[in-house]
């Protein structure tokens, strides 16, 4: 029974470590080679639309798929395709990757021109053509988000500028450097999707960003900027919807089912960019930080640039890195090799040193309930672990492990250092396999 006194969802007070807040984005020069991976969105990977030896130009489509959940992939450089290789993704799957040797001229492809948007249909087409995916991390294709079955019932556009992960400041830099783009994007989305109100949610550890957005949206009808308590994970979709509108997304439903469409602020800025000059998503601003980084900063890098080159441009390693993350320390993925390329949804590259990488030996659960008190989804990880350990799949379902957003609050707050998120992932996988088996039988 959830307490009626629980006004806000729980979460944890993780340290902010926003060291790079005031560091302007520096544009990184074109690298010698880029590695453009064919799975950069949620959904099946794209088919390669170029061959070894082909000359490609900036903005040319080099990968696309007919699948529902997909977005085209563009070349971020001009140059020559020198190979098609396979890389191992951080999650262990393999993905085809186009290797392009750059000519450093950055010649634009003929197709790069502002799209003509005249109605909702052409707007959605333009969003897809921009190659836009959710830049907050999940990589959900944006044009699908903008086209829910019940668009008529959607009354609120939510812009996620919470940026609740420690270290990351790339969205904040978007606000400070590209606020005009953000607001143009907001206006356009509201216009074509006929949404009357927009809430920009931003954590209160970014007072200047809040002030700037408030000043600029003063005269915009229906647009409000809402300051959120700085408590991780305010930027998780379901949490943001609840904190800004009070609505609860039921299990198995989408934000649109409660009248919301949520977009990351950088996604919106990128959309505006495309609508204005027709340049699709080919570069990303990433925060480079961590104990093994000599000089942290925000870097704009072309998609496909190996992260070791981004780090080198930022100033290189100050000491031997022990862990390299794409994304923040709470939800980011650790890569096995710093030659992994920058992806559409990369927002940070963190290199941790020896001191920041601990083994975290598990000790016995003492049932202190800190995991329960921190879970924004109101789950009970200690119960889930009991069910998981005794192979009780029905118990796992009753515990709603499927609702886990893997934000990491439980494991973060666990004094016994139990690997709760990892256990949740395994539990979810086990339930999926179980369901498939049942279907097969």
């Amino acid at each position: 029974m959830a307490s009626i006194f629980d006004r806000s969802l729980k979460g944890v007070r993780a340290p902010h470590r926003k060291n790079t807040m005031d560091m302007e984005t520096r544009r990184m020069p074109v690298p010698e080679k880029v590695y453009i991976c064919m799975s950069q969105h949620m959904g099946p990977p794209c088919d390669i639309l170029a061959e070894v030896g082909d000359e490609v130009k900036v903005g040319q489509i080099i990968g696309d798929s007919g699948a529902f959940l997909s977005a085209p992939i563009h070349s971020s450089v001009s140059g020559k395709v020198t190979g098609i290789s396979e890389i191992i993704m951080p999650n262990g799957t393999r993905s085809k990757t186009l290797v392009i040797e750059t000519d450093k001229k950055q010649t634009l492809h003929e197709s790069v021109k502002p799209p003509s948007v005249t109605d909702r249909e052409s707007f959605l087409k333009a969003v897809r053509a921009a190659g836009l995916v959710g830049l907050g991390g999940a990589g959900f294709p944006a044009h699908i988000k903008f086209n829910p079955k019940n668009l008529g019932e959607v009354d609120t556009l939510l812009i996620n500028a919470a940026e609740c992960e420690p270290y990351i400041t790339s969205d904040y830099r978007t606000i400070m450097e590209r606020a005009g783009d953000v607001l143009y994007g907001v206006e356009t989305i509201m216009k074509w999707l006929d949404i009357k109100s927009c809430i920009i949610g931003i954590e209160d550890n970014k007072p200047e960003g809040i002030k700037k957005l408030r000043d600029m949206t003063k005269d915009m009808k229906g647009v409000t900027v809402q300051s959120l308590e700085s408590r991780y994970p305010q930027g998780a979709e379901k949490v943001l919807i609840y904190e800004t509108t009070g609505r609860i997304v039921p299990e198995g439903k989408l934000p649109a089912d409660v009248g919301c469409i949520v977009n990351n602020i950088s996604t919106v800025a990128q959309l505006a960019h495309y609508l204005r000059d027709g340049l699709p998503l080919i570069a990303k601003c990433v925060t480079v930080d961590g104990g093994a980084i000599a000089s942290p900063g925000n870097i704009q890098a072309l998609i496909g640039t190996p992260i070791r080159e981004v780090i080198a441009f930022a100033g290189g390693y100050s000491k031997e890195p022990r862990k390299v993350l794409l994304g923040g320390p709470m939800m980011g993925v650790s890569v096995y090799d710093d030659g992994y390329p920058v992806q559409k949804n990369s927002n940070a590259i963190l290199a941790m040193d020896e001191n920041q990488v601990e083994g975290y030996a598990e000790t016995a659960c003492i049932r202190c309930g800190r995991c329960v008190r921190s879970c924004p989804m109101n789950l009970m990880p200690l119960r889930i672990e009991d069910c998981f350990n005794r192979g009780d799949n029905e118990g796992l379902m009753a515990c709603k492990v499927n609702l886990c957003i893997e934000c990491g609050c439980c494991a973060y707050s666990c004094p016994a250092k139990r690997h709760l998120v990892q256990m949740h992932r395994l539990a979810k996988q086990r339930l999926r396999q179980d369901q498939q088996k049942k279907k097969g039988a």
């Binding site: 022990r322 202190c368 494991a411």
Partner: protein, 315 residues
């Protein structure tokens, strides 16, 4: 390719804090009561605590060693059990008896059920109950503060004697509230000073080791119910092991419910049982039995107070 990078599941950093740090906080919170015990009962009180803590840790170490399990003495949970058991014994109890209590607590209740996190009842409580049933005389010989070698009754014992026509006499006298609040009364070594225990309570709350729900529910229920049944509520709040039990044993993570609603039910239940045993049972004191009984039904309370997942849909 060239590097030796660690690949692991998120989250990639953790809050500070550990089981040992929590147990250390509990030990610190228990300190004021130890100081009060030394003040009222003499240095023997310190010796008893040290003996129990050392014996508990030794039993834990030996068991884990013999069973080829990871050593867990470092998490300090055995030390907490030992100290709590010592606080639940009369200051003058022979030390070898106290060691038997430690054996029952650490080996039988804790380790045989799987060690930390797996015991169904509070080890210190069971250790005390084992000793109470085995050595009834020594377990009810309460030294009187300030009078060496003299034993007497606890305030609750006095009440029990007064209500019995055979033992009632003019000589029986109850201590004043102030003496009870400070701890200048007969009783188990660590339970008599309400003031010292409340200081520890404040510390645990400030350090967020526990929430106030269960202690307040437990003490509040005893206060209200004893008043409703015609007994002196302030007396029952200050007497016996109520504060020690409510603050330090009813808040044990392992053997009490996880959710706040569950803690509330636990506290109210333990409060009712305590008053019923005190007023109508054959024992003058009922806190440890109340906590033990509530420990046993804790899994059921946990089942009934599962919190609903955010947006969860029940089929």
């Amino acid at each position: 390719m060239t590097q030796n990078l660690v690949v692991a599941s998120s989250p990639h950093f953790r809050a500070e804090g550990s089981t040992a740090a929590i147990m250390r906080d509990v030990l610190i919170a228990l300190l004021p009561a130890q100081i009060a015990a030394i003040y009222f009962f003499g240095a023997g009180a310190l010796l008893l605590t040290v003996t129990c803590a050392a014996a508990s840790m030794l039993f834990e170490y030996l068991y884990r060693r013999l069973m080829h399990l990871d050593g867990t003495v470092g998490d300090l949970s055995a030390a907490v059990t030992g100290v709590l058991l010592a606080y639940n014994l009369p200051a003058g109890i022979p030390l070898w008896m106290a060691v038997i209590g430690c054996f029952a607590a650490v080996i039988v209740i804790k380790q045989l059920f799987g060690g930390l996190g797996r015991n169904f009842a509070n080890p210190a409580i069971v250790g005390r109950i084992v000793l109470l049933l085995s050595f009834a005389t020594q377990m009810t010989s309460w030294p009187i503060p300030g009078q060496d070698g003299v034993t007497g009754a606890t305030p609750l014992g006095v009440v029990a004697a007064m209500s019995n026509p055979e033992t009632a006499s003019e000589a029986l006298k109850l201590p004043g509230y102030l003496d009870m609040f400070l701890g200048n009364i007969g009783g188990s070594m660590g339970e008599t000073s309400a003031l010292a225990l409340l200081i520890g309570f404040g510390y645990l709350l400030a350090r967020r080791v526990i929430t106030a729900t269960e202690p307040l529910a437990f003490m509040g229920t005893v206060f209200i119910l004893s008043w409703a049944l015609g007994a002196d509520p302030v007396f029952h709040l200050l007497a016996g092991g109520l504060m020690l039990g409510a603050i330090f044993m009813g808040t044990d993570y392992v053997t009490t419910p996880t959710t706040e609603t569950g803690k509330l039910i636990f506290g109210v239940g333990a409060g009712i049982l305590t008053v019923v045993i005190r007023l109508y049972g054959s024992y003058p004191e009922g806190v440890s039995f109340a906590i033990l009984l509530m420990n046993i039904i804790t899994p059921h309370i946990d089942n009934l107070t599962r919190i609903k997942a955010f947006g969860g849909v029940e089929e």
